[in-house]
Structure formats: structure tokens, C-alpha cells
Symmetry: C2
């Protein structure tokens, strides 16, 4: 178990060592650790060494000149200058929020960025302004379209955060695949098999091998197969790719830059870096904020009271599990698995920082 | 087989008989039949008698005063005055398009409406303006959240239409459930069983009974069960419900007004009628339109060339099946099943119009 502050200080230290200024290092650490604190262990400190390797490979610019390259009253395109997505994304989301203050809504597409941590962090930035926040990103291709065996899309997550009054906010944050890659990695470590519907083998047959991706297989879009609506998951992942990367001028589809630094960059990339897409909608651009938020309370309360299935205690609202996890981990600390601890210790040694 | 024009003239006639003016009757017929022509048979003339029954029950106003009740530079709320959704929705989408011309994007929430046909029709209105179109609506509750047996959400579809240059547009249009209710109705007529994952029984157990909904069962969110990501489908359906109905002031969740006129209206409705949500984004609010559209051509061409799975010929782009269906049906006519023909003949007799 690690206290949040211990992991936070260490992470700030690492980002400082690779050349981030103090403000960026603090922000990047906060965004990265929002994954660990909310229980999305695959996207937090477990990835810190991956970011460092991307920096070592010259694929991350620790001192980016992030700028708006095009705008209208309700839109902007941001060029991340190959910076950490953990820093580029909050900049862009803030632009969306400022646009929304004036125009009612703000929509920002980002190019030339890198992995941005959990989608939910950025969407949730809107909540304190009584806005609905949206966040999505493309990512390295691991997912095959329906009827295909070729990895064409990333796990391309979507997050939507909606404020309420007395109730906690509604926060959905999910990969557009049946299961996120992080869940497969957990099964790999346990040497367990995967449920049918998560992955397919290289011929396109259903598989329960959690290591299938290393053998030419691919992740499946939400819905798993055509009969269960995988064409809808494929459409959702495609929309995320197009909004994040085609609108912005980033590299899309199978050309999205890979997260592992040892994987060569795709040839003939049609755009720059990874892409993100953010939205902010002022709720009072539609109806008075108090009215909206009190109806959200009513919505949430009613859904919590929906009759549970046999064997289940209660119905959850999107965001409930992560919020409960956050409360527990702020109190008790964050568990870090042995492989990640070792990773962090290697970083500590390399940069001469104590963990 | 019916020629499009024959069904169109008949449908215009019926809408005129219930009191729509000539322009509204023509528009409503065009929107309704866009379902039949694109192969979404459950949402076209098969529903015409349902609309008439809602009008007979006093739940549809054939001469609505549709109006904007609130607006900002990029948003509006439209009150449909209990009009046909088939007429209210194109009005609202047009408002979104006009907003986008000035502000870059336009976002319109609609209350006090009724069923609006296929979501895709409205989203596709944006294409001719070099805009991305979005459309969603809430609907009568048939779907249980993950871990629940209570019908809390409609099949709540999402449509996104994205223009390309030489290639046909990308048009995704899908219910946020594993299978749309129309697919179950087809199985019911055939007395066939449903794939596991489409419905659950009243205790929450997986079922293959296509008639399960009549016995207290419910439709399942996209993903089917927790292990296969049904919490994501539940989140998507919830987002559609909140954007369409809580933002606008319509009636949400289990309080959404039912489509069958014999079902009593819910008690203590928290808003007025059904809700929709529309978006229009000018692509040149992000990058030059020609540049965007030529990258969409590249995206589409690359995805079409993705390696197919064993036994499959090709990978489809969202919108391909419907467009191919439309070409065939414009040429060969629209097949109408016996039950629907009978329905139309009864309408013909009742209103003294020839089919």
C-alpha cells in the first residue's frame, strides 16, 4: 500500500527529471494518479515507465508549446507539440470550458498529443463549472472491426460527466471495446483465461486465450460479435477515432502512434501524433442550472431504486464504483502490484529519486 | 412490393387526414419512409397506425406551434408542442445547423415531442452542409440497467453522420441495446427464439424467449451482461436519456411516454413528452472542409481494405448496408409484410384513401 502523496511526490519527481517544468510535472502527476485513485490501475503509475521510455525515444516533448491553431466561437483545434497528453489534454479541456462560458458549448479537437491518462479526469473538469464534460481519445490499434481480423482501432474510450445537485455526479468512462486491455493484462498476470467475447484469434475465431494479442489476435469491439451488436461498438470506436484524429489532423486508425516505445512508428502517418476530442456544455445553455441539477438528482435517485436482479443488491450509477474506490484509497492507500513496484524502483534508481 | 411513391402518397394522405398541413404531412411521410427505404422496417410504415392511434388518444397534436424556448449562440431548447416527432425533429435539427453556421457548432435539446422515426434521417440532414450531424432520442422504457430487472430506459438510439468527399458518408445509427426491439418482433412473427444476450426474464436470468418482454422481462443494454460490458451500454442509454430529456425538460427514464396508445401515460411525469438531442458541427470549424473530407475518404478506403475474418468477404463502413438497401428498394420497391399491409388497408378504409 502506498499513500497517495508518496506516489504523487515520486511521480512529480520523475516528470521533473525528464524536463517538465514544475507546473506541468504537478499536473501530469495529478492526471496520471487520478487513474490509480479511482481504481483504473492499468492507466496510472503502471504506465509511468512507459511515458519515460517514449521520452527517451524522442517521442514526447517535455517542454511543449501547446497552442490553439484554429478556432470559431464554439470550437478550437489544439496542437499539443508532441507534449505529454497528461498536460495537453487539460489545456484543451480548459479551452472547451472557456468557449462554453461564452458560446454555450465548447468543442476542442487535439492533434500531436500522446496518451492522456483516464478519459474521465478531463470530462470531470467541467463539473465545477456546472457544465457537462466530454472526453475521448484515439489510441494504438488493438481492435478489429466486425468481420475483420486486422487491428484498426484503439480501445478508444469515451467519458461523459454530468453534474447533479445533492447527488454525486454521473460519470461514465469506458473503452469502446467489450473489455479494456488492462483487464486482459490482469488475466495474463494470473495466467487465467478470458471470457469468450473479449478477444479473437488471428483467423477471427472467438478465443479465451488472454495472450491472444501476442499471437496475432485482436480485441473485440463492445458487443463482441455481430449477433450481439459488435458493429455498434465498432461504430463507436470509429466515431472516437474520427472526432479525435480526423477532425484535428492527428494520425488515425491503424496509423495511431503506439504506446510501447519499442514498437516502430507506423509508416506514412496521415497526421500528427495521437488525437483527442473534448466537449463542454453549460447546462444553463439549455435550462436553469438548479432546475437541471435537481432533475439529475431525481434521475439518479430513481435509477438507484430500480429493482435489482436476483442475487444483486443494488443498481449502480455510472461513476459509483470509481468514487467508492477513491474514498477507500484516499484513506487506506493505493495497492501497487509487485511488477509495478519493481518498475517504479528501477525508475527511482535511474533518476536518483527515492520511492 | 410497393413502389416508394405509392407508400409515400398513401402516408401523406393519412397524415393530411389527421390534420397535418400539406408541408408537415409531406415531411412526416418522408421521414417515416426513410426507415423503410433504408431497411429499418420496424420504424417505417409499420408504425403509421401507431401514430394514428396516438393522435386518436389526443397524445399527438397535428398542428403544433413548434418553438425555440431558450437559446445561446451554440444551443437551443425547442418545445415540440406535442407534435409528431417526424416534424418536430427536422425543425430542431435545422436550428442546430443554423447555429453551427454562425458559432461553429449547434446543439438543440427538444422536449414535448413524440417518436421521431429513425435517428439517422436527422443526423444526415447535416451532410449537405459539410457538417457532422448527431441525433438521439429517448423512448418508452423497455431496457433494464445492469444488475436490474426493471425497465428504466428506451432503446435510446444514437446516430452520427460524417461527410466524405468521393466516398459515401459514414452514417452510424444504432440502438444502445444489444438488439433493437424491431429485431425481436421479427423473431416473434417467425416464432423463433432469440440469441442469448438480447433479453432477460423477470428475475434477471438470460433468456432466449423472444416473447419475454410480454412476461415481465426486459431488453438488455449493448454488451448483454456485466462480463461483456453491459454497464457501457447502460451508460450510453443513460447519456441519451439525460441529453434528450433532462437537458430539455422532457420526461425521462421510466417516465418516458409509451408509444402504444393503449398503455396509460406514466404518473407524475417529471417533464413534457419525449425528448431528443441534436448536434451539428461544421467540419471547417476544425480544419478546411476539403482536407477533412479527403482524410475521411482515406479513412473509409483503409477500413474497407482491412483484412476480413475467415468466411467473410469484406469489412463494412457504418451506413453501407442501409445505403445498399436504399439503392435496391428505390429500384425494386419496398417489401411490406402481410401484417403491415393489413394494418395499412385498415387505415385506408378508415380514412377513405386508396392504398
Amino acid at each position: 500500500m502506498y499513500a497517495y502523496s508518496r506516489l504523487y511526490n515520486f511521480t512529480v519527481g520523475i516528470f521533473t527529471k525528464i524536463g517538465c517544468n514544475a507546473k506541468d510535472a504537478a499536473l501530469a502527476a495529478e492526471v496520471l494518479l487520478s487513474a490509480d485513485i479511482r481504481g483504473v490501475d492499468s492507466h496510472g503509475v503502471a504506465r509511468l515507465s512507459g511515458y519515460v521510455r517514449l521520452w527517451e525515444a524522442g517521442r514526447i516533448n517535455a517542454n511543449p508549446q501547446i497552442k490553439i491553431v484554429h478556432e470559431t466561437p464554439s470550437t478550437a483545434v489544439v496542437d499539443g507539440d508532441a507534449g505529454l497528453g497528461l498536460v495537453v489534454a487539460p489545456f484543451a479541456m480548459q479551452v472547451a470550458i472557456e468557449k462554453a462560458k461564452v458560446a454555450g458549448t465548447g468543442w476542442v479537437a487535439v492533434r500531436n498529443s500522446n496518451h492522456y491518462g483516464i478519459a474521465g479526469y478531463h470530462a470531470m473538469m467541467a463539473l465545477q463549472h456546472d457544465m457537462i464534460g466530454m472526453s475521448m481519445t484515439n489510441a494504438s490499434a488493438l481492435v478489429a472491426p466486425t468481420f475483420s481480423v486486422e487491428k484498426m482501432l484503439g480501445t478508444n474510450p469515451i467519458a461523459v460527466a454530468i453534474p447533479a445537485q445533492e447527488q454525486p455526479p454521473f460519470v461514465a468512462d469506458f473503452a469502446t471495446t467489450t473489455a479494456a486491455n488492462g483487464k486482459l493484462e490482469i488475466l495474463q498476470r494470473k495466467q487465467a483465461s478470458a471470457p469468450i467475447g473479449w478477444v479473437q484469434d488471428k483467423a477471427g475465431h472467438a478465443s479465451s486465450n488472454a495472450n491472444e494479442l501476442k499471437q496475432g489476435g485482436s480485441l473485440l469491439p463492445l458487443g463482441s460479435d455481430r449477433e450481439h451488436g459488435s458493429h455498434k461498438g465498432y461504430a463507436l470506436g470509429s466515431i472516437v477515432d474520427i472526432f479525435s484524429a480526423v477532425l484535428s489532423g492527428a494520425s488515425y486508425g491503424p496509423w495511431a502512434p503506439p504506446f510501447p516505445a519499442y514498437v516502430p512508428m507506423p509508416e506514412n502517418m496521415p497526421g500528427q501524433g495521437l488525437g483527442h476530442f473534448f466537449g463542454a456544455m453549460r447546462v444553463d445553455a439549455f435550462r436553469p442550472a438548479d432546475e437541471f441539477k435537481s432533475h439529475m438528482d431525481n434521475w439518479i435517485t430513481r435509477f438507484r431504486k430500480a429493482k435489482p436482479s436476483e442475487g444483486y443488491e443494488k443498481v449502480l450509477i455510472p461513476g459509483d464504483p470509481e468514487r467508492e474506490m477513491e474514498a477507500a484509497r484516499r484513506k487506506d492507500g493505493i495497492p501497487v502490484v509487485a511488477a509495478v513496484t519493481e518498475d517504479l524502483q528501477q525508475l527511482a534508481q535511474k533518476f536518483g529519486i527515492e520511492l
